[in-house]
Amino acid sequence: MNQTRAVKTDSKLEKILAAGHLAVTSECGPPRGSDSDLIKKKAELIKNHVDAINITDNQTSVTRLCSLASCIHLKLMGLEPVLQMVVRDRNRIAIQSDVLGAASFDIRNMLCLSGDHQRFGDSSQGQNVFDLDSMQLIQTVRRMRDEGKFLGGDEIKRPPKLFVGAAANPFADPFEIRVRRLAKKAAAGAEFIQTQCIYNLDRFEEWMKQVRDRGLHEKVYILAGLTPLKSAGMAKYMKNRVPGMDVPDDVVKRMSGVPKEKQPEEGIKICVESVQRLKELEGVAGFHIMAIEWEEKVPEIVEMGGLYPRPNPDAI
């Protein structure tokens, strides 16, 4: 359990974290169309097993139903969305405007990201914006919330009350600044962190040690990111093709070592074991379970990981 910290927003996620409970978040990717039922169905699968649900923002630069509208759908279902926002597609006018739009629906959590380069997606010939970077997005939202001011200096009537998060990748290059970069995000005003998918637990523990040495785990809540592997092929793909992903050989070997039809089960097993091991690690404040197009497995992972039932934030 972490020590309690002051709560600054009405976010249920913040409340749970501040009370020292291990939080559980997950995420849903919006559909490539306007059918809101698809996002609602995904949310239904996981809603009883997580504290908040991230909605991705045109991830991998593939155009989808927008994150904000998807978050509103979840909010109308009585759930707790985490609005992901990338700086790739918005200038500072659009960013501040969308933040106010989210706040007008009392969306209470936001994750500030750079966004994948557009070359990966369906609009590789399009412009990118990058008026701000992810650190400056964090600063912007905190300024809007804490000072009640726009970047231009004017006062905001009814400032947005968002719990502000950021991503961290303990495995990306250059390795020597991985902890410094987290320190920078904390200094910019990030309050919670969701990490890149962890497969190399030894290396993650080493990173966490450095994080603790600098006391950063007392400044930001760190949610360990986990993605269950569906197959040996996926493990190899993640290892070889996804930049900044560290999948050790023994994980690939373990997945390849079981028959194809048993591989999904093995992937879940690895994920659950990771939860069990990392639960005990000082500084880990919770888990962010990204079951990519496999949302139905989230409840099982949460239950087997010993993270169920979820605390009732209204009773805290």
């Binding site: 750079s114 990966f120 990118n128 970077d133 992810s134 650190m135 400056q136 900044g244």
Partner: protein, 222 residues
């Protein structure tokens, strides 16, 4: 220098195929260094065009000239007496030269003969790469002399993003990660602590976003 690359000859043929007299104008500055629009390239392009139209049975008179620069009145004036003899000019200067020519000789059609790419360096003969985007407010003092605006694919002022892998950028194509270089440089300078200083929001009004820019120096103005 301003780095340009040659346009496909088919594109230039398409521009001038209905003309009878065309002047190809090279530039002795940047485009000569990057081997896209100097005297040599003017000669090569003119010969190729003559050969193409001869094979097509079409007569076009194609003349050549290379000026010292195309971004100064002084040198552009050198062709004033001959411009009227041509129905079109193909300028192998950068986009700056093409435009200055087009503005000066207002009744003459001026076509671009190169694609203007960026401000950059010669890494080795035949390899040029970008170093500056002219953002109007240089921040190199804070980034170890390496520019994230021109060399990071996301222009991150507080990079790197999660896509930096083994020193390379996530966009591929052998593009080095600018932030890897910045961090290596700060480390070499013993100033890695500087990495943790947050870069403030940039004033992009000094850049393209603020509209066409102008530098006026009253102290040297005549």
């Amino acid at each position: 220098m301003i780095v340009a690359d040659r346009k496909p000859i088919e594109e230039i043929i398409e521009y001038i195929k209905d003309r009878d007299k065309v002047l190809i104008v090279g530039c002795n500055e940047c485009v000569t260094v990057c081997e896209a629009g100097g005297k040599k390239e003017v000669g090569v392009l003119a010969s190729a065009l003559r050969m193409y139209f001869m094979n097509q049975g079409k007569e076009i008179k194609i003349d050549e000239v290379t000026l010292e620069r195309q971004c100064d009145h002084e040198y552009l004036e050198e062709i004033r007496n001959i411009v009227d003899q041509y129905q079109a000019i193909v300028s192998l200067a950068c986009g700056v030269g093409v435009q200055f020519m087009s503005e000066k000789y207002f009744k003459t059609q001026v076509y671009p003969g190169v694609n203007t790419c960026f401000m950059g360096v010669t890494e080795e003969r035949g390899v040029w790469s970008e170093r500056c985007q002219g953002c109007g407010q240089c921040i190199l003092a804070t980034t170890g002399g390496i520019c994230p605006v021109s060399r990071c694919a996301k222009r991150l002022l507080n990079g790197p993003c999660g896509g930096s892998s083994k020193g390379m950028c996530e966009i591929g194509g052998e593009v080095p990660c600018a932030w890897q270089i910045i961090i290596d440089k700060l480390t070499a300078l013993g100033r890695l602590d500087d990495y943790e200083k947050l870069a403030p929001l940039k004033d992009w009004s000094k850049e393209r976003a603020g509209g066409p820019r102008k530098v006026v120096r009253e102290d040297v103005r005549q």
